[in-house]
Structures are given as C-alpha cells and as structure tokens.
C-alpha cells in the first residue's frame, strides 16, 4: 500500500496513536500492526522519525536509560494526528471507489444470471 506519507511514516504515526513509545517498541508495534509485512530497521526508523519530527508530526518525549541502554520516547503531535486522519480519509475514499468499481459488474453479472 502506498500513501502520500510513505509506508514507514504511515505505520510509525499509526503506532503512536495509542501513546508514546520508544524506538524498538515502535519497530515491534509496526510489525504487529502490519501483520509482519513491514519490518523497520532501526536506521530507517530514526531517519523517518527525524523527517517526521522536522515536519512537526511527531515529537521526542524524553530519554530513559534502561539496563545501561538509552531509550528515546516519541509521541504523536496534534498536527501528526490531523495528518494521519487526512491520510486515512484519503485511503478510505480510494478504497470505496475501488470497491464500487469491483462491485458494480458483479451485481450486474448476478442480475443477468438470475434473469
């Protein structure tokens, strides 16, 4: 699926709707939410987060040290939420149009078969 945000950005925003998450938690959540189809590498994750942060769609939300390992948390901003909603609306409109196109001939065919 292609979106105007780009795949990685779309899934990252989606997983942050529930609340703040640290880097690896985002990777895991994206894999789960996409049924394993999207596997983000840590390097790609941070490159995308940097871009989203610059665009004001996500914000860094504190660093923690767990077992001597740094964890940076990220959260969705209001602007990020609005952008994701717009994205979803666009995807739904496209899906509706496609479903209508696919559905119309089948109904016609069914009608013809029953006649």
């Amino acid at each position: 699926m292609t979106t105007a945000l780009g795949d990685a950005a779309f899934w990252i925003l989606t997983t942050l709707v529930d609340g703040r998450r640290h880097g690896y938690a985002v990777v895991r959540a994206v894999a789960e939410a996409s049924d394993g189809r999207v596997t983000l590498k840590a390097t790609t994750l941070y490159a995308t987060l940097e871009r989203l942060e610059a665009a004001g769609l996500v914000a860094a939300d504190g660093d923690e040290i767990v077992d001597g390992r740094a964890r940076r948390y990220f959260r969705l901003t209001d602007e990020g939420r609005t952008r994701l909603e717009a994205e979803v609306a666009q995807l739904e409109a496209r899906a509706r149009a496609a479903r209508q196109a696919l559905g119309a001939p089948r109904i016609a065919r069914t009608a013809a078969a029953t006649a």
């Binding site: 780009g6 880097g23 590498k41 840590a42 941070y46 490159a47 390992r69 964890r71």
Partner: protein, 443 residues
C-alpha cells in the same frame, strides 16, 4: 559474569561501529538512542552481530545524513568554481591553451560541474526530507559514469571534427561519439529519474504515472543540461543561482540569533552638515561638467576636433568621460552619508573600477590586448566592493560570504564591463541629481 560483561561490551562496540557512518553532530543528538534500538532488536532476535541489512542500511542512512545544507552549499561553490575555470578556459582558449588544458576544460565543464550541481541539489532535497538517503546516494553513484561518458562524448566529437578538418579517416574513438553520447544521456536520465521518483513517492500520483513522469523529467533534464553546459556563460549563471539558493535557504533554516543592534550613527552638528552638503554639490557639479563634455565629444566629437578624432574614437572618448563623471558623482554622494570604513572602502573601489573602465575605453581598446582579460581587470574592484557590501555587518555568517563571493565573481566575470558601458550615458545624469537633489545629509 565477567565473560558476559565482556561479551556485552564487545557486542555494543560492534554495533557502535555502525554509527561511524553518521556525522558527528547527528551521533551526538541521536547516536545513543539509535544504538539502544539496534541492541534491543539484536537481543530480541538473540543475535550477537548486526545483520547484513543493518550494516548496509547504516551506511546508506549514515552517509545520507551527511548530505545537509552545508554540503549543498559547498558543492554549489565547487560547481561554480569549476564552471568559472572552464569558462575562462573557453574564453581565452584560442590564445594560450595547450591540448592538456583544453581537455581539462572539457572535463571541468561537462563532468565536474554537473556532478557537483547534482550533489548540491540532492543534498538540498535530502536535508528537507524531499528524497531519501538511498535515492540520493544511488543517483550520485549513477551520475559518476554518466558525466565521465559525457566528457568522453564531447572529446570524441572534437576528435571527429579534427579528423574531418585534416581530411583523414576518423579514429575508433571519434566514431564512437553517438554511442558515448547515448550512454551518457541514458545514465543522466536514470540519475535524475531516481531523484524525481523519490520526490514523487511522497505524493498520491499512481505508480506507473510516477515512473513515466520521473523518466521524462530525467530525459529532458539530462539533454537540456548537456546543451546548457556547452555554453560556459549559462553554466556560470546556473551555478551562481544554485550557490545563492543553497546559501539563502541555509541561512533561513538556521535558528534565529538575537537581532543585531543597529549602531548609533554619529550625527554631526548642523554647521558641519551644511559644509558637507556644499562640498558634495560642488564635487557633483564638476562631475556634471565632465559629463556634458563627454556627451559633446561622444556625439559631435569629429566636428569639435575638426576631424582629428573619427566617429568611433570620439564615441570612445565621450564614453570614457561619462564614466569619469560617474566616479566623481559617487564620491560626491558618499560625502553625504554617515562616515564608515565600509562606505568609503566600497565607494573608492567602485570609483576606481569606473576610472579603470574609462582608461580601458579611451586608451586600451586601441591596443591589441586581450579584451576579456581587460574587462575582468577593470570590473574586479567593483566586484570586491559588492562582496564588501554584502558581507556588511555580518562577517561571521558563512552563507553571506558565499553569496558575496558568488556575486563578486558574477559581476567581475560576466556583467561588470558590460553594465559600465550600458550605464555610461546615465552617469552625468546621476552627477546632476547629486548636485541638485534636496537630500537630507546623514540620514
């Protein structure tokens, strides 16, 4: 326990090595967070080493992160320097260039200039998140053989001409021109299309259309740029525009520092102001007289000198006098302004440039000298003055310096001598304005 600690430290060290691809500033800001995520992922998959994909991705993202505003600006500066060197080579080529220098000029204009222009564009786009790092690096890599083949195609074309001139059978290299040109065009198209495709990925344009648009954009850009780069002046103008764009936009994106306090200008007492105004008017009046003499000699010189000067000679002498009147007007104008080293420094340089132009017009044009070199020499002081004015009160801003140098070079090499001639006849009018205008002194 010690073993475990050692293993863990060694593993961390191995993952930390991946971060070396990133610039130091990026590592300081995000390095630990990225390392933590890499180690979390390795632990979850019970791995002790980075995967091949992680190593490749770190290389691409890390080197990509180095393509920022600074790289864009310096790449544009290098492209401009190469274009300027090549244009000087082309302009003066006929008189002094050896074959080696001629070949260097071709490589500078057809290979070095476009590659650094692409680097500037790609770094600029990546820094703004318009393209991803992978596309940026791939495009630059594809462009390397592309520009090399373009330079070879250019040389092959020249070799073909030489063979035709000497009426000999063209060499295999000369006959390879169409294939070299085609291959260069193909690679140039791919390099630009990669960038275009990455830009279009963040839009809702459907896949097939996106590819078609990207390839068309690549094909057109490659052919247009190869034609433009053959004309040295265009490549100089294009690279100067690129320098200005990268420098100005880098300046805008910088965090705003505290505004610079305006310096209080020293306002002298009214009596001193009146003296200065009188002095300015007197000097400007001298400029007007010189200018009127310039008009007279330019248009009725042969009559005034009873044929001692022909039409061309008197026109040159008249233009030279008009340029002198411009220099005088500038000095008169400067007297009315608040005194500063920058003002007097730049005014002196502009006036010097006008006087040199006048000498070149009145004297040197009659001598068999290299006109391009003269034009550059007489415009150089004005170029320096322009740079001085642009840098102004902000000598700490590197982007101002870059714009200043670009503007100075553009003026010196391309515009100066031409503008002075175009504006020569307006200069006595400027002197007249300074003489009669009811301006306020020291505002």
């Amino acid at each position: 326990m010690t073993d475990l600690t050692t293993t863990s430290a060694a593993r961390e060290q191995e993952f930390r090595r991946l971060l070396r691809w990133y610039p130091r500033q990026w590592r300081a800001a995000h390095g630990d967070a990225l390392l933590g995520t890499l180690l979390d992922a390795a632990e979850a998959e019970a791995r002790a080493h980075p995967t091949g994909a992680e190593r490749r991705s770190a290389l691409v993202q890390g080197v990509g992160a180095r393509l920022d505003d600074r790289v864009a600006m310096w790449a544009a500066v290098v492209a401009m320097a190469a274009a300027l060197l090549a244009s000087i080579g082309f302009l003066t080529g006929a008189t002094w260039m050896s074959d080696g220098a001629a070949v260097t000029t071709v490589w500078l204009s057809v290979a070095v200039t476009p590659w650094f222009m692409l680097l500037a564009a790609v770094a600029w786009l990546r820094a703004r998140g318009r393209i991803d790092s992978g596309a940026a690096l791939l495009s630059l890599a594809v462009c390397v053989p592309g520009v090399a083949l373009a330079a070879l195609a250019h040389l092959s074309w020249s070799a073909g001409f030489d063979a035709a001139d000497e009426r000999v059978q063209p060499s295999a290299f000369a006959t390879a021109f169409p294939w070299l040109a085609l291959a260069a065009w193909g690679l140039g198209t791919v390099a630009v299309a990669i960038v275009a495709l990455s830009m279009l990925r963040a839009t809702s344009v459907p896949g097939a259309l996106r590819l078609a648009v990207a390839v068309a954009a690549g094909g057109v850009t490659a052919i247009v740029s190869s034609l433009l780069l053959r004309a040295p002046l265009w490549s100089v103008i294009a690279t100067i525009a690129l320098v200005a764009l990268t420098a100005v936009t880098a300046e805008q994106r910088k965090p705003q520092s505290a505004p610079v306090e305006p310096r209080p200008s020293s306002v002298p007492p009214p009596a001193a102001r009146a003296t200065r105004r009188r002095a300015a008017r007197a000097i400007a009046s001298v400029g007007v007289v010189i200018g009127i003499a310039g008009y007279a000699i330019a248009f009725i010189g042969p009559v005034l000198t009873s044929g001692a000067l022909d039409g061309t000679e008197s026109m040159r002498a008249g233009v030279a006098l008009c340029l002198v009147s411009g220099a005088v007007a500038l000095v008169a104008f400067a007297i009315t302004r608040p005194v500063s080293r920058r003002l007097w420094g730049s005014v002196s340089l502009f006036a010097l440039s006008l006087l040199l132009n006048a000498v070149a017009m009145g004297v040197l044009q009659l001598q068999p000298v290299n006109q391009a070199a003269v034009a550059i020499a007489v415009s150089a002081p004005a170029g320096i003055a322009i740079a001085w004015l642009i840098v102004g009160h902000r000598p700490d801003s590197s982007s101002r310096w870059i714009i200043a140098v670009a503007a100075a070079l553009a003026f010196t090499l391309a515009l100066g001598a031409m503008l002075a001639l175009v504006l020569a006849f307006a200069m006595p009018i400027a002197a007249f304005s300074v003489a009669v205008w009811r301006y306020r002194v020291f505002t």
